[in-house]
């Protein structure tokens, strides 16, 4: 039996749900309410010492880290393969998936907190906020989130994050000029890895990043037409207060964010 500990809003959770759904695998869902710190309890930390979502449990075997989980799923369950069959294709695919672990995820959390989620944390009492920070085991991640919460769009890394996504979108555009999907003509874990990140940017009202990249826009449209996109990604956000918060705060941050890119 497959069990998934996840949350509706987390991008890494959506990444694993997309892989499970594209592979037509059923799973028992354990949704954690991150705003109530359910990912920081001692019980959950025994499963996931980093206190992050998602965590997959496969007949008692615990697998953490979404990139690792997705390759695990594709190796463990052969039908509906999500990796190219050849070595070169797999290298192309992994060049995409490793970027998420090497900076893209970090920059997404900078933007998400600097624009939107800071408002949830700022509404907490000083004690509750201190407790929230203390519950983030990774010291660098703690400092980044704190800076984003305290300084909003003027946080140290906001412009760096926006530039990173400009480059990512340019790289995607170049790949999509060669193939229908990022790593070839079939959908792979590369597309699954990137989809929730682009969805997050859209939720934060940052679609301008690909307004001159029609191939990226077409890739997003192709995704939206797949049933998995609705059932594994969009449906988990329907009616979520986070969605409204991201839209509203994204709208108001937009002029400042655009000016940051001009200055940079």
């Amino acid at each position: 039996m497959l069990e998934l500990y996840h949350s509706g809003t987390s991008v890494c959770s959506a990444k694993v749900r997309l892989a499970l759904t594209e592979k037509q695998l059923d799973f028992t869902s354990h949704v954690l309410d991150m705003s109530r710190g359910e990912h920081q309890t001692p019980d959950y930390r025994r499963l996931n010492p980093n206190a992050v979502v998602p965590t997959l449990v496969d007949d008692g075997l615990v697998v953490i880290e979404s990139t690792v989980i997705n390759e695990y799923l594709d190796e463990r369950f052969e039908p509906h393969p999500l990796r190219p069959p050849d070595a070169a294709g797999r290298a192309r695919m992994r060049l995409w998936t490793r970027q998420l672990d090497d900076g893209v995820h970090e920059m997404t959390s900078v933007l998400s907190f600097a624009i939107a989620f800071r408002h949830l944390l700022l509404a907490k009492s000083p004690e509750a906020l201190a407790q929230h920070y203390a519950g983030i085991p990774d010291r660098a991640r703690r400092a980044r989130i704190r800076d984003a919460v305290e300084n909003g769009v003027h946080a140290e890394l906001t412009a760096t994050a926006l530039r990173r996504f400009e480059r990512l979108v340019a790289d995607m555009d170049a790949a999509l000029a060669r193939n229908a999907w990022l790593a070839g003509d079939e959908l792979t874990l590369a597309d699954i890895g990137l989809a929730p990140y682009l969805a997050r940017l859209a939720q934060l009202r940052l679609e301008f990043l690909w307004q001159e990249r029609p191939r990226v826009a077409a890739w997003i449209d192709a995704w939206r037409q797949r049933p998995a996109y609705t059932s594994a990604l969009s449906n988990w956000l329907v009616g979520s207060p986070a969605l409204a918060l991201m839209a509203q705060s994204g709208e108001s941050a937009l002029p400042t964010l655009k000016s940051l890119l001009v200055q940079a």
């Binding site: 496969d58 075997l61 697998v63 953490i64 880290e65 990139t67 690792v68 989980i69 390759e71 695990y72 190796e75 463990r76 050849d86 070595a87 070169a88 797999r90 290298a91 992994r94 060049l95 490793r98 672990d101 090497d102 010291r139 660098a140 400092a143 760096t160 530039r163």
Partner: protein, 261 residues
Amino acid sequence: MELYHNNMSVCAQKVRLVLAEKGLKPLEHHLNLRAGEATTPQYLKLNPNGVIPTLIDHGRVIIESTVICEYLDDAYPDIALRPPAPADRALMRLWTRLPDAGLHQACGITSFAIAFRQQMLAQPRAEIERQLAEKPDPQVRENLRATIELGLDAPQVRKALADYRRAIGRMAQQLESTTWLAGSGYSLADAALLPYVCRLEQLGLGWLWSGAHRSIAGWLERSKARANYAGIRDYLDPKYLELMQRASAECGSRLRELLTA
């Protein structure tokens, strides 16, 4: 098969360990990084990130050491370096992603703050600025500038040492129950982490695994006893080794203080 690499780079060491384990002998192109050979327009066409290593196999360009290592195991599976069971492969990948998820950056910051800054500071200011301007990634450039100017006082150093120490702690815990990082067999996980542990040793920080973490010492010995260790040993530059040893001795007590804080 061709490999663009550098003798002392940890990422190049990692790929050479895997190549040697598989008995593959590519044509080698050694790049002088300080002379900007990884950022020439010609090289950037192969590797847009301006870093080494780059592997060319049957005309295909493969970049990023973690991706190269998995590629080599996919393309040349006879001597397999990934465990067969999906569960063990997941464990292996938790290790191989560590360098990409911060450890590599920690290694660069630590090496520069202790030792390599001295090579940089021995040059005229304009030359330092030229080399900094060549770094395409603004964060890498900023880290480099701070460590050159401030050494161990750079604000990035505390986090780098903490990341390094955490990785060592996790490895030690794993190696108390298994011979190799991903279980009973040598895998890409061991090849991925060995260069980072060797670097600590070169920087005079081998004492980190003298006490509670001593399972690392046995693993290090087993790793060095393998024939593929030639992928590190045969390329070591004595000038760099001497610099790292001397520079770390000069700041040994401060380092110990930072690492035990």
